[in-house]
């Protein structure tokens, strides 16, 4: 029977299948961070269990880590206690940890691919919803809760039901200044925050095939924002070229065997998807969000919508609540919205290519005097690479702040937060109320829009800068 890519990966990991029960799915890689794991380790200890496969488990510190004074002890005692708990737990159970200060430290979804631990055809989980990022390699990767973290630690498996299959096909050439972030924001605006519920999304089409691995990760990363369990992209030469030579990538004859297998990981010609969505890449423009969920987005050429125009009562009420929280008036051109802070970083857009795109726009210019810009690399390695290329100087000479690696202002578990009422243009993934700090207001944007916005202090498309 013809299968989709996701079905092939799923079926290859079924340990046990029985009528009336969920399948038992083997997990090839379990990524762990400090926030969603302490209660799971406590659960193991309480039950007298151990970690079945510490060699398939990798931990790092990312959510709580400060991006200034990174070698000093964490000032916030609660954050510090959580990070210390991870250090104790990983030491006790023999799990490799990339702690603050380590060259492999960084956002969990940045370091997996960077180390070559993320490979095509694998099953990957983490107690973090943005685990879908790893699907960019053709892996089946999804976020789990703390009870499931405990389950994977104990058994290296998870009970699962096979998800439904959705194809999101993006054909055509992306116009200049339009990026993967704009594609995924447009997808979410089209299908809604619940449109992907119960599905794994396979992104395909000529526009997707042309994307770099970094861009593919941006797209898969935000699958969860459409409600999907996971998002993935078939591995190809771009994938293999990215992986070759990375620390945990196969070598020699193993490499050849792996590539031979990876090359089979494609959706069969006559496989059937349960749902299909099509997007025309040539019609896309930079996209920004105006509301408080990632589905509330529009092309930057648009105006703040009038809630009265929404046909569905729930959508209308949601728009009213969003505009009130965001302090926006219907009819205002999105380009007239002034921001206080620009955040460039996160597991969505904190990789080297994202920093390069932003730096190119900022080179030789100064950011707006009333706007602060935080640049937070996704990992220590991304930071080092950027510094080798001189990007750090481009940012600081433009007036931006160059920080240490971590999740930072994406969710403000460290000191990088918006003040109440403060407004940001952010390359992160969630514009939820208070996400970046109590009372903070977030507009999700691409790295290029973030940089252009930093220069003008208002939501700005890169193309607007011509002649500025």
């Amino acid at each position: 029977m013809p299968k989709t890519l996701a079905e092939k990966v799923y079926d290859a990991h079924v340990v046990r299948s029985a009528a009336g029960e969920p399948d038992l799915l083997y997990i090839d890689l379990h990524l762990v961070h400090e926030v969603t794991s302490p209660q799971a380790f406590d659960g193991l200890r309480a039950a007298g269990r151990t970690v079945r496969r510490p060699d398939l488990t990798m931990a790092t510190e990312d959510h709580n880590v400060p991006t200034l004074d990174i070698l000093a002890p964490i000032a916030d005692p609660v954050s510090r206690a959580q990070v210390e708990a991870l250090r104790r737990n990983t030491a006790e159970f023999g799990i490799r940890l990339a702690p603050m200060g380590d060259r492999d430290q960084g956002i969990v979804h940045v370091i997996g691919p960077q180390l070559g631990l993320t490979q095509p055809g694998m099953t990957i989980v983490c107690g973090d919803s943005h685990t879908s990022t790893h699907g960019a390699f053709g892996a089946l990767a999804f976020g789990i809760g703390t009870s499931e973290v405990e389950h994977v630690l104990a058994t290296q498996t998870l009970p699962q039901y096979k998800p439904k299959q959705m194809a999101v096909t993006v054909d055509g050439e992306l116009p200049p200044g339009v990026s993967a972030k704009d594609v995924i924001l447009a997808v979410i605006a089209q299908i809604g925050t619940g449109g992907g519920q119960g599905y794994v999304i396979e992104y395909r089409g000529s526009a997707i095939e042309k994307l770099s691995m970094e861009a593919r990760m941006t797209i898969c990363n935000m699958s969860i924002e459409a409600g999907a369990k996971a998002g993935l992209i078939a591995p190809d030469q771009t994938t293999f070229d990215f992986l070759r030579g990375r620390p945990h990538a196969p070598q020699g004859a193993d490499w050849d065997a792996a590539v031979a297998h990876w090359s089979t990981l494609r959706t069969d010609e006559d496989a059937v998807f349960d749902a299909e969505v099509h997007l025309d890449a040539t019609a896309l423009t930079p996209f920004v969000t105006w509301g408080t969920n990632p589905g509330q987005g529009l092309p930057i050429d648009a105006r703040v919508p009038d809630p009265a125009e929404f046909a569905d009562e729930g959508d209308r009420r949601a728009a009213e609540q969003a505009l009130e929280y965001m302090g926006l008036t219907p009819g205002t051109p999105l380009r007239e919205i002034e921001v206080d802070t620009v955040f460039l970083g996160s597991c969505t857009n904190g990789r080297i290519e994202d920093l390069r795109v932003a730096a190119e726009l900022l080179r030789g210019r100064r950011i707006d005097a009333d706007t602060r810009m935080l640049v937070v690399p996704g990992s220590v390695a991304v930071k080092a690479q950027a510094e080798t290329e001189g990007l750090d100087r481009v940012f600081t000479e433009a007036g931006a702040e160059w920080r240490g690696a971590g999740c930072s202002m994406c969710l403000g578990m460290n000191p990088d937060q918006l003040a109440p009422g403060e407004r940001s243009a952010s390359t992160s993934n969630r514009n939820f109320q208070g996400r970046q700090g109590k009372g903070g207001r977030t507009h999700l944007v691409s790295p290029a829009v973030a940089a252009a916005t930093a220069l003008t202090g208002r939501l700005t498309a890169p193309a607007d800068l011509i002649g500025v």
Binding site: Q82, G127, S129, H151, R430
Partner: protein, 204 residues
């Protein structure tokens, strides 16, 4: 996990769509390393900033069933959201649509999620707004929600849940223990995994 068979309590109407887990409990509460005591963070921003927020109203203070709009529990995978609802006295959340991870976490934590069509949620909202003291019964055994609006004829709305999850919740069974019965299968699977698959530990 506590077993769930049937629950009768009062219900709070949360007339909002897209209630994400950042609203259920913000990230600052996630720094704790305990598994209980999260009730102080439950919907804290709305409780603080909106005097009329439904859970600030005394008539809903003791509600144990939350009735919400579609796409409840979106966003972050934090199981702390499920723990906060349980710690805050809720045993059941009813919504037309739940985010997958939230719903899955609920089945592990012992919080029952019930999917009802939007029209039934609207009817239930109207009933509990008219009479906040109205008892609502959620019967997992019979897979139905029952209430008697205005003291009149009883309304019964059936719901569906997959039989395996229903059995686990009714018995209060721990997933890890169930999986451990099949460790032979896991071992057999492991012997067949390709040797080139990555290991996180550097080779010794």
């Amino acid at each position: 996990m506590d077993a769930f068979t049937t629950h009768t309590g009062t219900a709070a109407p949360l007339r909002r769509t897209n209630v994400d887990t950042d609203q259920i409990i913000p990230a600052e509460y996630l720094k704790r390393i305990t598994r209980t005591g999260f009730e102080d963070g439950l919907f804290i921003a709305w409780r603080t900033n909106e005097p009329d927020f439904v859970l600030n109203r005394p008539e809903y203070a003791n509600a144990s069933i939350l009735v919400a709009g579609p796409d409840f529990g979106t966003g972050s995978s934090r199981e702390h959201a499920n723990w906060a609802l349980l710690d805050g006295g809720f045993r059941v959340v009813i919504s037309p649509r739940f985010a997958d991870i939230f719903r899955n976490n609920s089945t592990k934590a012992g919080l029952l999620t019930v999917v009802l069509p939007e029209a039934d949620v609207e009817a239930l909202w109207n009933a509990i707004e008219a009479d906040p003291a109205l008892p609502v019964t959620v019967d997992l055994q019979a897979e139905q929600v029952t209430y008697s609006p205005g003291g009149g004829r009883s309304t019964t709305v059936p719901f569906q849940i997959d039989p395996y999850t229903r059995w686990r919740l009714l018995e209060g069974l721990d997933d890890v223990g169930l999986t451990e019965r099949h460790l032979d299968d896991v071992e057999a699977f492991e012997t067949a995994r390709p040797a080139w698959l990555p290991r996180a530990l550097p080779a010794v």
